[in-house]
Symmetry: C2
Subunit: 468 residues, 2 copies
């Protein structure tokens, strides 16, 4: 139970109508998109601006109440579940695009704006905001920033972090700071901008962001290549990069995913194929045409059964949306879907997919794999049933082996989903005990009362049962 | 005086021949490229590997001896002066390119490799490492990383930070950590990689780096545009970007710089011009030709007296080297040259250059300005005489006003040179007292004994005489 004083303080700060502690509201914010993680918050608050957030943070510090900042709750690693109870902070009242600056190629936005809204607004001005997480139609930019969201265009264009030039941040002590700016170059002090992108809300609250924009590519082409072997698909990926071509997207879909997508979306994918690659290039038309011609050739040289550029934008859009529906299509197969994002160096994709399939067999679980082959960011996706405790235990063991194998191949436990609570037991596998220790030192120094999204990123214990 | 035990410990770690405390050696490392900053170190040590550095750091912690990591000492903000005495750490024995991975497009290097050596090695394989600080022929990659070096290609390609995928770091407590990897996407924990790029050696020592490479652009064109007004040159810069063209370089040189360069290098620059723009585009040939044609037109539309693409690579190289010799050419004019890098949003370049000239007049000092117009990173350069105390006081006041004006225009006190000791009094102007406080918290938590490059970035007092 929260102290009455504290609640009255919140009423004063944001107004009573923006504080909600009804059962239904608390229930609605007790989970995010991660299966099997749920915890009730004590209260849900919707501030109007940074000043109100400063006051809320100060009050939470005084009363030792945890704060969980939350965009649209599309997190897949239990990054926005209120594990320790406390206050869920919503941003729907801070959802404005404040400026699109065509001379400096920047957009200044509030954290609650939907990603797709930004993309559409800048494209109208012939500009481009490349990060395109699969959830972009519902995710907020604030969530993207806190999670350093990736997407399909990561190979060529990078991820959210590469497009954040400046932030306004409320620190855990309630101070407001501004980092960076409309500046391509700025080396004044430590780079807090990049530190906060991907900090998962554990170091403070982003209240405004300055995004970098680039000119919108003038044309785009889409190609589908079909394989009867995963190895050949992976060889093609390497061959394209070795030929010094960087496609805008280079996506991989395995047979179980192809079948689920085809069953769901009926776009004419070849359900007998072992693997397909969906490859896009964008840029000036002559470059796109030349690249796609070379890519088509490379696909065929490396054993593609067919490789064909979409004849029309309608056909291309059908292929793109086929890839984008992969998760929804797989989700129809069983009551519970667990989507992971173990990531490896590009050269290890074939080895990793092979390992995933072997591990799935070993533990007798169903795992389909799709993802961003160009940047080694794979999404092994398990279709299971959370009510089957025995199976769920095997699923957990399988993913544990998958993460361990990714690390063995020079990869990481998460490419774009974040650590959250779900992967916190594995973080030391990637960063080492010494790396984990310095990260904890950083967290402790910024947030000594541990009010900012507590229990995320850092597990109480690691899987090695070493208390840190 | 260092304790004998400590020195004997160093002998054991690196071997006596790699420890130097002669007067001449200490003198050689008592300054970097910054005028008027000098302090004697106690000892100079050249380790062979990360393990030795771990032991050195542990010894320094035990005996409370400051460590100043130093590459080639090209720093312009007194970032590598041993202000508090102590140990200068050299990297000339750690100067190997360990790997160029053509499949993952990465290079793994030791900190002591010369930047140009990396650029040449990867270009031989038709790959490209874009960051090109003016000092690249002598600077080390370790120095570039610690300073987050920029360069002429920053507008289109970004800066050093954008090309660092992973680091091996010795922490101030002697622990060794590995961050990132050959991974385009990695969100496992806080982004220590980006935090250490630009940390100016105050948080630990980089002992290895994994660099991101991209395909080498297949062609390049260079254009010189001549103006009788600074305003028109700045208008052209805005017009090019507004036309959604991002040139590889977009450099600005003012009249005093033109005259100094021409006098020095005799490349045929028009000495009567008020300003010239040096514009380069690279990429596929057809794109470069189309862009350069448009750029030429835009230059003329916005009042260029002439705008001509170099007819040959020899002519282009002469123009490029003219720009690159700007500092050397200005340095010939007087005993002391102070090169600054106040940076503003691109849209404010004309306003900033105007302000620089007014401030120079006000304080009766000579300031020439050149720099990276495309990214707003200007280099006002004062030709003066350090022995003239009265003039030097006026120079300092002038630069103080220049930094203040850059901040007023939404800019920063340093775009690519770093804070070091020289600009530490101004850091709060950019990041605010609250920003400075959280940066100090970070430093204190990582390096509680303050052994890592002490007195850099954080001034003992700010110019406002507030003790922090």
């Amino acid at each position: 139970m929260l102290p009455t004083d504290f609640i009255e303080n919140l009423y004063e700060i944001v107004g009573e109508s923006h504080v909600n502690h009804s059962e239904s509201s608390r229930l609605a914010y007790s989970f995010d998109a991660t299966p099997n993680f749920q915890a009730m918050p004590d209260i849900v608050v919707s501030p109007a601006n940074a000043e109100e957030i400063q006051q809320i943070v100060r009050a939470c510090n005084e009363y030792q109440v945890p704060i969980v900042p939350r965009g649209s709750g599309t997190n897949l690693a239990a990054g926005t579940t209120p594990t320790q109870g406390g206050l869920v902070l919503l941003f729907h009242r801070m959802n404005q695009i404040l400026e699109i600056d065509e001379e400096n190629l920047t957009a200044t936005v509030q954290p609650g704006v939907i990603t797709q809204t930004i993309i559409d607004a800048v494209e109208e001005k012939n500009l481009f905001y490349p990060p395109d997480p699969s959830s972009m139609k519902i995710s907020t930019i604030g969530g993207n920033i806190s999670e350093n969201s990736g997407g399909l265009r990561g190979l060529k264009y990078g991820v959210t972090k590469d497009y954040i030039l400046g932030l306004q941040i409320v620190l855990p002590n309630g101070d407001l700071i501004n980092t960076g700016g409309k500046l391509a170059k700025d080396v004044a002090g430590y780079d807090l901008t990049k530190l906060y992108v991907g900090a998962e809300g554990t170091l403070g609250i982003v209240t405004e962001a300055t995004l970098k924009l680039i000119p919108k590519p003038s044309s785009k082409k889409t190609l589908l290549a079909v394989y009867d072997s995963m190895e050949r698909a992976a060889e093609t990926v390497s061959a394209i990069i070795s030929d010094r071509i960087i496609p805008a997207t280079l996506e991989f879909i395995d047979q179980p995913t192809i079948r689920a997508v085809e069953d769901y979306a009926h776009v004419g994918l070849p359900t007998e194929a072992e693997a397909v690659l969906l490859i896009e290039q964008d840029g000036p038309e002559e470059v796109v045409l030349a690249d796609m011609e070379k890519i088509e050739l490379l696909c065929k040289e490396h054993g593609a059964l067919q490789a064909q550029t979409a004849a029309s934008e309608i056909e291309a859009e059908a292929l793109r949306s086929a890839r984008r529906t992969a998760l929804s299509a797989l989700a129809r197969l069983s009551p519970t879907t667990i989507l992971e994002d173990a990531t490896v160096p590009r050269s290890e994709i074939a080895a990793m997919v092979r390992a995933i399939n072997e591990i799935a067999d070993k533990f007798n679980v169903r795992i389909a794999t799709f993802g961003h082959a160009g940047d080694g960011n794979l999404h092994p996706t398990c279709t299971t049933d959370a009510r089957d405790e025995d199976e769920l235990e095997r699923v957990e063991q399988a993913f544990e082996e998958i993460f361990a194998h990714a690390i063995k191949l020079g990869g990481t436990i998460t490419g774009e989903h974040g650590v959250g609570e779900m992967k916190s037991p594995y973080l030391a596998w990637k960063v080492g005990e010494e790396g984990l220790a310095i990260m904890k030192t950083l967290k402790q120094s910024f947030d000594p009362n541990n009010i900012m999204n507590p229990r995320k990123m850092f597990a109480k214990e690691t899987r090695k049962r070493i208390v840190l």
